[in-house]
């Protein structure tokens, strides 16, 4: 069962994603901010990270850079309320992005694609 780490400072989003993604057959763990995120990834070894861009005290795009530098091929999906983040060059290091919504169809589609992505070893 693929393990997904949801990093978001809004509790209702963490709950929504957890519930829906567990129902879709994923194991879900959560973090409420970017504190010691790299250590958490190292320990928990998730197959994919869903990362909020704007968190109190943390910039998701900076966290994305750190993740990409340390875990080169770990899939990361940016989750955001607004799509203005695309103006920031750092966003190209994400596998995909989704605009936050109560309908998770798009998010589930992107998760499936990210986990299906295959490059020869």
């Amino acid at each position: 069962m693929p393990k997904i780490l949801v990093v978001d400072d809004e509790e209702h989003i963490r709950l929504l994603y957890s519930e829906e993604l567990k129902e879709a057959g994923y194991e879900v763990i959560t973090a409420e901010n970017g504190y010691k995120l790299l250590e958490r990834i190292e320990e928990e070894k998730p197959d994919l990270v869903i990362l909020d861009i704007k968190m109190v005290d943390y910039n998701g795009l900076d966290l994305l850079q750190d993740i990409r530098n340390q875990f080169y091929d770990l899939p990361v999906i940016l989750s955001t309320a607004y799509d203005t983040f695309k103006e920031d060059m750092k966003s190209i290091a994400a596998d995909f992005y989704v605009v936050k919504s109560f309908d998770l169809t798009e998010l589930k589609k992107k998760i499936a694609m990210a986990l299906e992505t295959r490059l020869p070893g």
């Binding site: 850079q65 990409r68 530098n69 080169y72 091929d73 899939p75 695309k86 103006e87 060059m89 750092k90 190209i92 290091a93 994400a94 596998d95 694609m113 990210a114 299906e116 992505t117 295959r118 490059l119 020869p120 070893g121």
Partner: protein
């Protein structure tokens, strides 16, 4: 080996080796050397570095200007034999010399960049010293600059090799000694690689070698001393697209296994001031004219290469007037995939004719892209290209099918 070598400091080893390919660059090479030297001094002061001029036996005093430029790091001059031209020859000399120096990082920087600055060296070399295999720069570009990259190179390489490298055909890059070993035993080396094909050859092999690729954000446009993008464009088009098609044959076993694509890591994101791209003028009437004339000229070749479905689509597109012109990405992906598959089964002459015939189709695609994006910002046009790349990725099973 290089035809001629001058190594006044008898350098036998270095941590960082930077090569500058040139041919008659007396007006710009000294500034380039100075900026590279400053970059090495400022960002890698404790490492041993050497700057190598990779020359095509220039007759204008490039060699003298190279040696007399201010700077503290030692220099080596290598040249091809008189009359031997082409960046590929220079890069091959670079590989052979660099291998003797046992470096930790290698970089190539073009001689004629007017606005190169020291932090470009940091952005290129830094990621290699931290473990990357290949670094490709990311310059600020207008939506209509480098359309060959936006409409062929990026979607094709991304869908084939699964890595999103946006500007894969730039003339500056850095790489690791491990990748140097691969380059020293080239799977393909032909006349096109000796010339314009070398830059895409470098990136393509890096992608197929599965080394970690980093894109280095440079925060600036790249301004060449002399720039006429259309001069020799026909030759450039054929050599670049030809190099990609040739390497598809070599790396078939690799790319058939790739599904979807992944981003790269990014460096240089600490640059706070970035330039705005300058507008690029496009003459859409001229593009339309060259598209329709080209279709007429290469009708026979096109009918030999493409099936009736594609030919019907092309006819449909060519019947559209300028105002309503549209060349869908789906048709374009099919054309490129069919062309690549046909190319793999052709003689050298047939390959050349196919690439000739592909050029007007590409111009039609440029025209369609310009019309669709004329009211878009650079950012919106980028998103448009990203969506078109997804069409290529979704059609990956098609190229696998037609290739066999």
């Amino acid at each position: 080996m290089a035809f001629y070598e001058e190594n006044p400091n008898s350098i036998t080893g270095a941590d960082i080796v930077v090569g500058i390919p040139s041919y008659n660059e007396v007006e710009s090479v000294a500034r380039t050397v100075e900026q590279i030297d400053k970059g090495l001094s400022e960002y890698f002061p404790d490492l041993k570095s050497v700057i190598i001029n990779l020359d095509n036996h220039s007759s204008d005093g490039t060699r003298e200007a190279f040696f007399s430029a201010p700077g503290k790091f030692p220099r080596i001059y290598l040249s091809t034999a008189p009359g031997v031209r082409g960046k590929g020859h220079n890069i091959r000399n670079f590989f052979e010399k660099a291998a003797q120096l046992s470096p930790r990082a290698l970089a190539v920087v073009e001689a004629d960049i007017k606005n190169i600055s020291p932090f470009w060296i940091r952005n290129l070399v830094g990621p290699i010293l931290k473990g990357a295999g290949y670094v490709c720069p990311l310059y600020i570009r207008h939506k209509y600059e480098a359309t060959l990259t936006s409409l062929i190179i990026y979607p094709l390489l991304r869908s084939l090799y699964g890595r999103r490298v946006r500007q894969a055909n730039v003339g500056d890059y850095a790489f690791s000694p491990q990748l140097l070993d691969t380059y020293l035993k080239p799977p393909v080396w032909n006349q096109g690689v000796d010339d314009f094909g070398i830059d895409i050859w470098m990136t393509n092999i890096a992608l197929a070698s599965r080394v970690p690729v980093v894109q280095a954000f440079m925060g600036a446009r790249k301004v060449h001393r002399m720039m006429d993008p259309m001069a020799q464009f026909h030759v450039l088009f054929k050599e670049v697209v030809g190099a990609i098609f040739e390497l598809m044959q070599v790396y078939h076993d690799y790319w058939v296994q790739v599904k979807w694509s992944k981003p790269t890591a990014l460096s240089g994101t600490d640059i706070h001031e970035t330039e705005t791209p300058l507008p690029v003028d496009i003459n859409i009437s001229r593009l339309h004219e060259r598209f329709t004339q080209g279709l007429e000229q290469y009708q026979g070749t096109l009918e030999r290469v493409f099936g009736p479905m594609v030919i019907t689509k092309i006819q449909e597109i060519s019947s559209m007037d300028l105002q309503h012109f549209s060349f869908p990405a789906q048709t374009w992906a099919t054309i490129l995939f069919d062309a690549a598959a046909a190319f793999s089964r052709m003689s050298a002459d047939e390959k050349s004719s196919l690439l000739d015939a592909l050029l007007p189709l590409y111009l039609g695609r440029v025209l369609s892209f310009v019309k669709k994006t004329e009211r878009m910002s650079v950012q919106q046009a980028e998103e448009y290209i990203e969506n078109e790349c997804m069409i290529f990725e979704e059609n990956k099973p098609y190229i696998i099918k037609v290739w066999t």
